[in-house]
Subunit: 111 residues, 2 copies
């Protein structure tokens, strides 16, 4: 793949940064299930997720529109999981809904 | 801190996702120095970064304006580091410049 520079891609990123609490019972299983369901949602593009050993994590999901994000927010299984996140799994979290205005992709070319 | 919901915060997030290459000589030292310099830039708000053991990482820096992001891109030390990143440290990376349109903050309240 060549390096790409693109103006105005006009899709959305939901940045979810979080600190896990001490009680992460069922967290991995539910997170996996929720990610699977997100991928089935209309308007879903991609998800990327990293967590470090201290329990701090960043998950970014990419969506075609604000409407797609809203539909995913209203999804029943996701709503239940978010509630459990607030009550049990997360010490804190921060959600940011962002319009991706510009992007640049680099892939190393081997010579 | 109470939970906050905010419409139209109007600041920018630069999402940098990357896969490290095999050759990460000097990477940690330069990354630390570059982060220190970013924090001194006009318009800098915050930075959050996580990398997993496979070398995949997400770094998000937050900025007051596109102009602040442009000034940081043109910073001499940053430009040299970016060049070295393309030549040596990164197998691939993806930069997305995003307008933060909406955000929600949750902090657990202890009872």
């Amino acid at each position: 793949m060549d390096n790409l520079f693109s103006e105005k891609p006009f899709y959305y990123a939901v940045i979810f940064t979080s600190q896990l609490s001490q009680d992460t019972t069922d967290y991995d299983d539910v997170a996996e299930e929720i990610e699977k369901r997100a991928k089935e949602q209309p308007g879903f593009i991609n998800v990327e997720s990293v967590r470090d050993t201290s329990g701090f994590g960043i998950t970014i999901s990419y969506w075609e529109s604000l409407e797609a994000i809203k539909q995913w927010k209203d999804n029943a299984a996701h709503t239940i999981a978010r509630q459990r996140g607030r009550e049990q799994w997360y010490e804190q979290f921060h959600v940011r809904i962002c319009l991706v205005e510009k992007e640049y992709v680099f892939h190393r070319k081997e010579f």
